[in-house]
Symmetry: C3
Subunit: 333 residues, 3 copies
């Protein structure tokens, strides 16, 4: 149903406080908490009477059930049963490998141990950048969100008010699609185009701009690098090009087959002339991603209403279709 | 499940504005809109990725999907795919025959083409009459609404405050039931009776009245002609009799097997002595039909709670039972 | 699914007014009402068209359906059909045996007649005591409430703010469990302990107290006699011991397999020094039972989320397990 041997985003670091956080991930209810400062994740069910551990309290060395007081450490071992000295070996709950990197808490839901470290996202810790984000809940399956992010031709119809702009520019953009065994990359260039409303608010452009979108699908998350520079002021092929850079992080974690979590941040390079740009970008992004959620949830509800029916393919489906093939292969294996 | 080769009410004319209207009819999600002023109905699903067309925009010559911008005309043909010149033949959605007559938008949900024009309801356009109405959503199957309208003995129990009056008058009314292959007609006369509260508010009666109810079941809608005249002032057999006439239109369109739309209007003959009578009647009717909805939804919920169980028949079931036989025959054929 | 040949609490006496009361009990929708002052219970479905009788009106000699006006007496016999003289023998609904004792309305849901009178609860009518209570709806199966009430070790974790107190005191209390064919009794003594917050508010204790909890499981209800006296001021084995006595009544009636009603009262012996003690105790009890409901509903939701999985038993499960065996035997028989 889902690719299992992957690092998925479980939470942002700032979501883990002194209270437990309950979150169902890939159909598995999980409780997230900090044990001695370290992020930890257990199956969200006491082994005694199945009360959710997330109704309990975070205590040294882990989490205590709020019903009969059993205490578990970060490896899921029960270390105290009130009223009895002897703790049975079977008194334990499943622990999930967790890594916290660059303000992101990653979880490994696979049945085997992690085969590689969790991904990095250095822009969250880069002093040249500032970032802000949020967690959205979707009443839609994760792959519909993949489709959406891999086909930015929808910007001209769904997001006219923020990052979209003229529809013709988007559908006629120069586009290159490349791929590997577990990634797809779409690069789109829109030279000499009119900056969309959010760009104008966030950056002091002089006039028309050379605009780029670099979308990387990495199975459980996307890196979407968008931005623009004054037309002709740099080379779109040079990563160190000047102008306005937005480094989007988009973690997409299935909650169930039909619902998902969408963890997003936008990191943007600072510009002294626009001290409020992080807030400006955050507000516009939140509005934009709400628009996406609205159409994707409507799409999903419609698919449920109509049941199975053929879909007519069009040209912009190329990259989404590649991503679907990768997910299909990783799910089977 | 439903008689298919019928004209059903899809909407009132005033519901179709410059925005698309989404409505599931007979289990089929439909989008209604005006293409160049003409009412049109398509399956509410883009053929590309199944987004609801009702989330899109009404544009010449039809409706544009709000996700990737495909444009469809009123016959369901895709006439534009952004970003590509070639439009595949398969890029189309189902169109439904629609007729707009007397402020009612009728739709033909059958698999074959309409075999007859949509019904007329001339009182909506008769200057001697004024009308007002509404659309109600029912959490109950359409046949429970048929039962209700064909057995007006419930007026004395459910509608005491408006159009009911003394229960004994209703259950003892003179009643004649006639029928044809696709209609049932119930005529009830209650001579020399006390006018119910709504009649008194709407019309300047002198005292006791001769009252009539003529209920025609026409498979997908009812015509319910009720009213009263000063006792002895006319002949109940003469359609041109004087007094207070209410021409009720009641379109009942299944949404699903267990939910329905109820489109109703009351047209009443104007009386200069009561300039507010349309509002008076509308308010009382809305209150009355809310009472019906409450008991019918409770009845349906109860049938679901208890499951299958025998029903004990009583005399007033005669007309409802005939209507059920007609629906059964038309559904099988 | 449920032990059937039992008296279950259907309502408190004060819930039966001049309006019908609808309540699903053991999966069977029931309408409760007073016929000539006497509590009565019928299947909540008119035999004509299955409308809920609870939408009707209480009339001599019973209840009249609010749709077509059929009138039923307290034995479920139809005694009037408007519009027809002849009443078919089949026009009747199921009546349930009901007994009203000590402000409690008991119902017998079994297929055979009651084999014994309904239970007494004399403290509701004892002038030395005052009582107050409420009805709670639970989104959880009844046996999870049994488990909760039979294992008061949870007081130290769930109810710290009211009747709990130090967790160690509870888990280390002296405990004796006895049982019969259809009862389980748990007696716990906590000598020389600190009175919990609610005790201090309700009773003028001098300092530390000898505290008792006597919990009797009686299949469809619990008697929970708790209280305390100034340490050393009496004998915990003597029922006439002095101090603060709370006689809890806890009727637990399944609504469905997964939802329940919880009828509770607390009767406490009056103390002139604390005129408000009934209100104090009621408020604390309501707060406490809300805490129980929260954790039990979370436990149930979690069991549904995770599906079947083994549970690890601990020592405090002894009494709950005995109660489960009794219910199992009574359900099979």
């Amino acid at each position: 149903m889902f690719p299992l041997d992957q690092w998925y985003v479980a939470a942002f670091a700032w979501e883990l406080t002194d209270k437990p956080l309950a979150r169902t991930l890939l159909n598995q209810p999980v409780v997230l908490f900090r044990a001695g400062g370290q992020a930890a994740a257990l199956a969200d069910r006491c082994c005694h009477r199945h009360a959710p551990l997330s109704c309990g309290t975070v205590e040294t060395p882990g989490i205590r059930c709020g019903y009969h007081g059993l205490l578990f450490n970060a490896t899921g071992e029960c270390v105290e049963i009130p009223g009895q000295a002897n703790i049975p070996k079977t008194a334990c709950v499943r622990a999930y490998p967790v890594e916290e990197r660059n303000h992101i808490v990653w979880i490994w839901m696979g049945n085997s141990l992690p085969t590689r470290p969790a991904p990095e996202h250095p822009w969250h810790d880069d002093p040249a950048y500032a970032f802000k984000g949020d967690v959205y809940h979707y009443k839609a399956p994760y792959q519909l969100i993949h489709d959406n992010l891999l086909d930015l031709s929808h910007l001209g119809y769904v997001h006219v008010k923020t990052i979209g702009g003229n529809a013709k520019i988007h559908v006629n953009a120069e586009m290159a699609v490349t791929k590997g065994p577990d990634w797809v990359k779409v690069v789109r260039h829109m030279k000499d185009s009119q900056p969309p409303p959010t760009y104008l608010e966030a950056w002091p452009f002089e006039g028309r701009i050379d605009r780029w979108q670099e979308i990387e699908f990495k199975v459980t998350y996307f890196l979407i690098w968008t931005g623009g520079m004054d037309a002709g002021s740099g080379d779109l092929a040079d990563p160190a090009r000047p102008g306005f850079h937005m480094r989007g992080f988009h973690g997409i974690t299935p909650e169930t087959e039909t619902t998902s979590f969408y963890f997003w941040t936008i990191s943007s390079n600072r510009n002294p002339a626009r001290p409020d740009m992080v807030e400006t970008i955050h507000k516009a992004s939140a509005f934009t991603f709400d628009e996406d959620r609205t159409i994707i949830e409507a799409q999903h509800a419609n698919m449920e209403r109509f049941g199975e029916a053929p879909m007519v393919g069009i040209l912009v489906d190329a990259a989404p279709n590649r991503a679907r093939k990768i997910v299909e292969r990783l799910t089977e294996s």
